[in-house]
Symmetry: C2
Subunit: 131 residues, 2 copies
DNA sequence: GCCATTAGTTACTTTTTGGTTACCACTATT
DNA sequence: AATAGTGGTAACCAAAAAGTAACTAATGGC
């Protein structure tokens, strides 16, 4: 009885992807972790404008969606390392394409200026800095 | 003086892309329009769970970001056709990859069931329906 | 004269998201 | 005895996004 509307076969997995990574912070977190595992404080330092609460929350969601591995070490002060799962690694090239697309589509925007974050919060451990 | 934090060169154009398409509705709108131009009411019918206010808003934002072309015809009742720009067309293959990724990464989810929308709102014009 | 039609808009409310500040556990160092 | 250091959590508040319902303009058809 009910007639069927034309629909897009790709819509729903696309919605799912967007639910998982489609916000301000998550793609950045994934890209930062693409060089290897990183501690909570390090991520927080590299994304100085995110609040600790939100970062915690984003990391939890990414972990729940199977994109991050969280390793907690029984040390004082605590150490927690986050790293990408295989699932997440498979997404990196696509994130790269999204990034490339913006660079091509909006050449008038200077994305360069975002590359270096100065005067961010400094975690105490030393490997945070570049020479 | 200020030491520089390691940063990711891709982060900012990625953020920009996510600002433009990283939400629940916009990728769907783009994919629906990938088959050709479409009227407002048609889009609203194909995405029955979006409110008219939000759809209007999303379309406006996509237009402002150069992804959509809006053509308004001086007819009564009014007719407005939305279509993709070249910029948007360049994004489609990447959206497809995002969709493919979810299908592969989450095989346990049945994205199939989203394909057909039944009992949605029906606009009066006839070309809305599939045989 | 009334209703249907389309693409919205407006005013209002609700939900979601994000941010702020203070606090905790536990140890080493000063 | 106090402080620094890390990875959080809790309570609270502000802002942004989204939903709802009613309304509009202008015309054709009944």
């Amino acid at each position: 009885m009910a007639r069927k509307y034309i629909d897009n076969p790709n819509a729903c997995s696309l919605v799912h992807t967007m639910n998982i990574i489609g916000n301000k912070w998550k793609p950045i977190i994934l890209y930062l972790l693409s060089n290897g595992s990183m501690r909570f404080g390090m991520l927080n330092a590299l994304i100085p404008t995110i609040s600790k609460k939100v970062l915690t929350n984003q990391l939890k969601e990414l972990e729940n969606d199977g994109l991050l591995l969280r390793q907690s070490f029984a040390e004082i002060p605590p150490r927690v390392e986050y790293s990408l799962t295989e699932k997440a690694v498979g997404l990196l090239p696509v994130l790269k394409l999204l990034s490339d697309w913006a660079n091509e589509a909006y050449p008038e925007m200077d994305f360069e200026q975002c590359r270096i974050i100065e005067n961010g919060k400094k975690p105490a451990y030393n490997n945070v800095y570049k020479k």
